[in-house]
């Protein structure tokens, strides 16, 4: 008969060192946005005067 004592620990002290972990059932928890992005006032004011973007000839 194979000796399984090295695989299945019966020592309570050893069992205590390998405690039962919670089930493996991952769930996403996305990080929330709580801080306003800093608004750059000057670019906002100048936006209407910015020339329209044109694609380059290579595009």
């Amino acid at each position: 008969m194979n000796d399984l004592s090295g695989i299945f620990l019966t020592d309570p002290e050893a069992e205590a060192r390998a405690p039962l972990a919670p089930p493996d059932a991952p769930m996403a928890m996305p990080t929330q946005i709580l801080e306003q992005q800093p608004r750059r006032i000057l670019p906002m004011l100048l936006a209407p005067f910015r020339p329209a973007r044109r694609p380059s000839r290579e595009a």
Binding site: P12, E13, E15, A16, R17, P19, L20, A21, P22, P23, D24, A25, P26, M27, A28, M29, P30, T31, Q32, I33, L34, E35, Q36
Partner: protein, 586 residues
């Protein structure tokens, strides 16, 4: 309790807020009239402005109690069928003594067994313990816990290698690894205790209200032994339910979360409550310390209802046993609440959630405002303009300014009334509705309230100073860290109390000397503040001693709840050297 209609909640909020602002404005006007008697100066206006904010804050607390006295708890929606949800009870621990924490888990498990619904509940002990010896005791304690309860397969344990995000990060770590296995999670503190019936009832209410993201209970303080602890325990049991009912009337869909003794819908929490680190260094940047208020705001932002049910009993926690431990805990909460200033403009939050942040900030700024008012009052004589006895041109008789001391007396009476009247009304209400029976009867409750009011008056200036120091430390950028919460009997010698509060005594002496030199007439007014400051070590040491009087009885002492009896039994079992025999659930 379905969410009351928006207009009704809006109306209650409007009425109570308006009343508080009006009372604050009344204080402002009374003080301005008093100050203007000898000629209006900049210091008068500044002091009147400080009185405006302080009186508003006092009134806001008082009107919540008045509102709470006007109604009874409403019957919430629930269902009586079999439970269908999978629920996990989360017990985050951080360097806590397993000999205190694990018997509580055993007690809740046994209490759940008595409901016959234990199979629907798992426990997860989420260790953030940094101390290796304590961690080793936790691992061994788990084995003992399983032997005591026989709940193997329903009680789990895991220890994080790093404690990123502290308690909020601990919960988040669990949800990202194991959240998919559960519909609901009951979040506890290491010192929480809840009756099995209450745990089941919370699940029933969550199942009956699919839009409900979080349900908070009002925990009662138990197991207090010191004078200070028992006063807090009594106050929490006697006054808090009424204040909580007032709060519940105003909550609408944006109720509170106090971080523990609450149940959350795991999916809602996962979707909405992943907390970022704030930019910049602590104390205003970094991890969000008082995460509970923020999580409540985020759930509401995502459209979930957050609710406190003030009718739910069977929810307990322990409190600090002395004033210094209380101040230390308050130091953490102070930093956490002031950090919320960074979140006032967070995108998408409900206006009421922002106002809740303002309330938290004001709670800690209010004592500082009072202190500023006192200091301004001491310095006021330096700013008084010379009296003009001939203000009317061509009139050759002197005009003697009429004293407006009556205005100041009226203001003082109003302020004392705002402090004491809600508690006295709660006492009368308890007598009339026979709630006082649980507190030893109307007479015993009256004696306890009287003693509590006297102690509040004595301890308030000491807490005012602790609070002010906390705010100064936070504003100066000193990070208070997150020390492990010390529990135990908490008794302090006079020497220890002196070491913790000598600076308060010196501040009191300096304040008194300054008032004696600059405005001696103010000394009688300042005495209720300065004398307790000078006696701070005596107050701290005296109140930390074990309570012998029969005062401050609470319903949980008059009739010990089952889960507390179970906790005591498991503590005894834990104290025996051999694994204790299982305690019968039936």
């Amino acid at each position: 309790m379905d969410a009351p209609s928006d207009w009704r909640v809006g109306l209650i909020r409007l009425v109570l807020l308006s009343a508080s602002i009006l009372i604050g404005c009344g204080g402002f006007v009374l003080f301005l009239r008093y100050g203007a008697a000898d000629g209006l100066d900049v210091m008068d206006v500044l002091r009147a402005a400080l009185i405006l904010v302080s009186t508003f804050w006092l009134a806001w607390g008082a009107v919540q109690a008045f509102a709470g006295l006007t109604t009874r708890p409403r019957q919430p929606a629930r269902h009586d069928g079999p439970l269908t949800s999978r629920c996990v009870i989360l017990v985050p621990v951080y360097n806590e003594d397993p000999a205190a924490t694990f018997p509580r888990i055993a007690a809740m498990e046994a209490s759940l067994q008595r409901t016959g619904m234990a199979a629907h509940f798992h426990f997860a002990i989420l260790s953030d313990t940094r101390d290796d010896a304590t961690a080793e005791a936790e691992r061994k304690g788990l084995h003992r816990l399983l032997a005591l309860t026989g709940a193997e397969g329903r009680i789990f344990y895991r220890r994080r290698e790093n404690n990123r995000g502290r308690k909020a990060g601990n919960i988040e770590d669990f949800i990202t690894r194991s959240g998919g296995a559960y519909d609901l999670a009951i979040i506890l503190d290491a010192d929480s205790l809840m009756e099995g019936d209450t745990l089941v009832e919370m699940v029933r209410r969550m199942e009956a209200a699919p839009e409900l993201g979080l349900l908070q209970t009002l925990p009662q303080i138990v197991n207090a032994r010191s004078r200070f602890g028992r006063i807090q325990q009594f106050a929490a049991a006697f006054y808090s339910p009424i204040f909580c009912r007032g709060l519940a009337m105003m909550q609408g869909r944006t109720g509170p979360f106090w971080g523990h003794n609450a149940i959350v819908r795991v999916r809602a929490f996962a979707e909405s409550c992943g907390l970022p680190e704030l930019s910049g260094p602590p104390p205003f940047g970094g991890h969000i310390l008082s995460h509970d208020y923020v999580e409540a705001a985020l759930l509401a932002r995502a459209g979930w209802q957050v609710r406190v049910d003030d009718d739910l009993t069977g929810s307990y926690e322990e409190g600090p046993e002395n004033m210094v431990l209380h101040a230390k805990r308050d130091r953490r909460w102070c930093q956490g609440n002031l950090q919320h200033a960074r979140l006032l403009t967070a995108p998408g939050l409900k206006p009421w959630s922002r106002f809740v942040f303002v309330q938290g900030i004001l709670a800690y700024l209010s004592p500082v405002i009072w202190l500023a008012f006192l200091l301004c009052s001491i310095a006021a004589p330096l700013f008084v303009p010379p009296i003009n006895y001939f203000p009317i041109e061509g009139w050759r008789w002197p005009v003697i300014p009429v004293s407006q001391t009556s205005q100041a007396v009226a203001l003082a009476i109003c302020i004392v009334g705002l402090l004491f009247l809600p508690k006295l009304l709660i006492l009368i209400d308890a007598g009339l509705r026979r709630r006082a029976a649980g507190f030893g009867g109307a007479l015993a409750a009256a004696r306890s309230v009287g003693a509590e009011l006297a102690f509040s008056a004595l301890s308030a200036p000491v807490f005012l100073m602790f609070n002010t120091r906390s705010v100064m430390q936070v504003v100066a950028g000193v990070d208070g860290g997150w020390p492990a919460q010390a529990r135990g009997d908490g008794r302090m010698t006079l020497t220890e109390a002196w070491q913790a509060s000598s600076w308060i005594v010196i501040s009191g002496l300096l304040g008194g000397a300054l008032a004696f030199v600059l405005s001696p007439a103010l000394l009688p007014w300042l005495a209720p503040v300065i004398v307790p400051m000078m006696a701070a070590p005596v107050i701290i040491a005296w109140s930390s001693a074990p309570a012998r009087a029969t005062l401050y009885q609470t319903p949980a002492e008059a009739r010990v709840p089952d889960v507390l009896e179970l906790d005591a039994a498991f503590r005894n079992a834990w104290a025996t050297p051999l694994p204790g025999s299982r305690i019968a659930a039936g």
